[in-house]
């Protein structure tokens, strides 16, 4: 029993981290159909910027904010200078964003070196609650709380505000949205920046959990893609359920079939796609 609770908790907290990373990616996919290989770089660079900020100021909240804002600006630059013009050209998008991912990977190496770092977390967030035989690290609970907060805020914005309605309209049918006077280019830019922002938040938060190290970008990228594929592009609900599924599958897969653990993650996903090519909550 303890085993199940502990593994489920671990799976859910990893899923929460994935949601932070993949929620924005899913919106970007849904709205602009951009295959963004740079998303993992946003996560890694966000972690690095957060690391530097925490070294200089010692403030964890400031690290999250600064990392996220810096990366949102980087994302905006990339989008405006290149990706905006590659609408509908998947091959062009993949190669361009891959180019940026390699450049960012190298810049990360130049600026922060090749050593792995852990972002020091505030004392309030360290330690663990103990219930019987079980330990629940406070930091993992914090990650779940952050993800829950982001999910609720995103949901409220998308469902309850005028801007949210514009975003949903653009996801559904960009041409019609433009036709009724919605500023689609501006909305798209905003969503792209939001995606980069959230990826960087995930990066800083993950820095206190799995660390910040070269290669983390390409390690996490497939997970983010899988979440989006399983959940369906452009669906927040899909991203949420997809993240939890991937987090749990990854954890139990590693616990039960260590030799086949990635297989147990990607194979069910392939099976879901075979039945629903657009993902659980996606529309074609």
């Amino acid at each position: 029993m303890e085993f199940w609770i502990a593994q489920t908790f671990n799976g859910v907290s990893y899923g929460a981290l994935l949601f932070l990373l993949a929620g924005g990616l899913s919106l970007i996919f849904g709205m602009m159909r951009i295959v963004n290989m740079t998303h993992g770089s946003y996560y890694l660079l966000g972690g690095y910027v957060g690391l530097t900020v925490i070294w200089k100021t010692g403030s964890f909240p400031l690290a999250i904010l600064a990392g996220a804002l810096a990366i949102a600006i980087v994302g905006l630059g990339e989008y405006n200078a290149f990706l905006k013009r590659l609408g509908g050209q998947e091959l062009g998008q993949v190669l361009t964003t891959m180019g940026f991912a390699l450049i960012f990977q190298d810049l990360g190496l130049v600026i922060w070196g090749g050593d792995p770092y852990t972002i020091p977390v505030p004392a309030v967030l360290s330690g663990a609650y103990q219930i019987g035989q079980l330990f629940f690290p406070v930091y993992r609970i914090f990650i779940v709380a952050v993800a829950a907060l982001v999910a609720v805020v995103l949901w409220l914005v998308l469902e309850q505000t005028r801007v949210g309605a514009m975003i949903r309209a653009t996801v559904d049918d960009a041409e019609m949205a433009r036709g009724v006077g919605i500023n689609v280019p501006l909305i798209s830019m905003g969503v792209f920046a939001l995606g980069a922002f959230l990826a960087a938040v995930a990066g800083v938060v993950a820095g206190g959990f799995v660390g910040v190290y070269p290669g983390a970008d390409f390690e996490i990228l497939p997970y983010a893609f899988v979440v989006v594929i399983v959940g369906g592009m452009g669906s927040l609900k899909g991203a949420l359920i997809g993240s939890l599924m991937v987090g749990l599958l990854d954890n139990f897969g590693k616990a039960f079939f260590p030799e086949l653990s990635y297989f147990t993650l990607f194979a069910p996903m392939a099976a879901i796609l075979a039945i629903r090519p657009t993902g659980l909550f996606g529309r074609a």
Binding site: Q89, M98, G99, P222, F225, E259, L260, L273, P277
Partner: protein, 320 residues
């Protein structure tokens, strides 16, 4: 490009490949061998990307299947070349047949994503199925094949010609395929699936067969790669490798077969030569990715064609 100039280009290329080894240092010869093997892989992907209009993000999987077949069979069972070749091709074909069932339900972005995930299945097995693949350590000390020839393939020049022969065979097979009525039907499907269906073609079956051929030829390059490198590891099947093969195709020029081969050569030489001079080669490779899309969306062959004819390039677009 009219067939005439294509033939001249091909003949020149092959002649250069045949006569160049004595003039090359062993380092350059190694790189040229590597370029030949990657050319096979890039040409096989071109069948999907160029002729069928389906951009796959998981093509490194077939390189891995071929290379791991060689690695496991030679180091553990002392298998000879023909056995590893047969197993490698068969394994790649079977996996492509299974993956094709899933992947061909989608097109465009969804096809990209599904092939990415399927490629990751193979990467996951390579990475984690330690008892079979030795995980991150990879399988090392793969011996060069012994074909009973008077020249030992352990030496650079004979092995180069061995790979050149493989390249020519793969090129010939793909050339025949794309010029056949079947190959033309693939182009027809790329241009308009619904029209081909109306004309009575079994569209799905044609795509499926194309997908399996691409995977099998990719597996062939993997067999050569295993022998060439003497080592196979999960790095051979990772996502970055799959994207790199796509770059080779785009850089050389889609739907031209020889273009992707040229693209493969450029990337292999660039990667290895630049890394000799600077540690910042990732930066340069990244710039090549972006530069290709910005400046040569139709690739090298496309640019040459445009120069020769003054034709406007089409945007780099696969089917959505």
């Amino acid at each position: 490009m009219p067939p005439r100039s294509q033939q001249i280009g091909l003949a020149t290329l092959l002649l250069l490949l045949v006569i160049s080894p004595p003039f090359l240092s062993s380092f350059l010869l190694t790189l040229l061998t590597q370029a030949l093997i990657y050319s096979i892989l890039a040409m096989s992907l071109d069948l999907l990307v160029g002729y069928l209009g389906l951009a796959s993000l998981g093509h490194a999987a077939y390189l891995g299947l071929g290379a791991y077949s060689v690695g496991v069979l030679t180091t553990r069972h002392g298998a000879n070349f023909w056995v590893t070749l047969a197993v490698g091709l068969l394994l790649a074909a079977v996996v492509a047949a299974v993956f094709g069932l899933v992947a061909l339900r989608a097109t465009g972005v969804y096809f990209l994503m599904i092939t990415l995930a399927l490629g990751m299945v193979i990467w996951g097995l390579a990475h984690r199925w330690v008892s079979m693949t030795q995980g991150d350590n990879g399988i090392s000390r793969i011996p060069r094949p012994d074909l009973g020839l008077p020249w030992s393939l352990a030496r650079g020049i004979p092995f180069y010609y061995f790979c050149l022969a493989g390249f020519v065979v793969a090129l010939w097979i793909l050339w025949v395929i794309v010029r056949s009525p079947f190959g033309q039907s693939l182009v027809g499907i790329r241009e308009s699936e619904s029209r081909m269906r109306t004309l009575g073609y079994h569209v799905w079956l044609h795509k499926y067969i194309g997908f399996i051929i691409a995977g099998t030829v990719g597996g062939f390059s993997g067999v050569l790669w295993g022998y060439y490198n003497g080592f196979v590891s999960p790095a051979d099947v990772e996502l970055a490798t799959s994207v790199e093969i796509l770059l080779m195709v785009a850089l050389g020029g889609r739907a031209t077969l020889l273009g992707p081969a040229v693209g493969a050569g450029v990337i292999v030489f660039l990667k290895n030569l630049v890394s000799v001079y600077t540690h910042r080669w990732l930066l340069i490779l990244g710039a090549v990715y972006i530069g290709t899309i910005v400046y040569a969306p139709e690739g090298i062959v496309g640019a040459v064609r445009q120069f020769a004819k003054g034709v406007k390039p089409e945007p780099l677009r696969s089917k959505t």
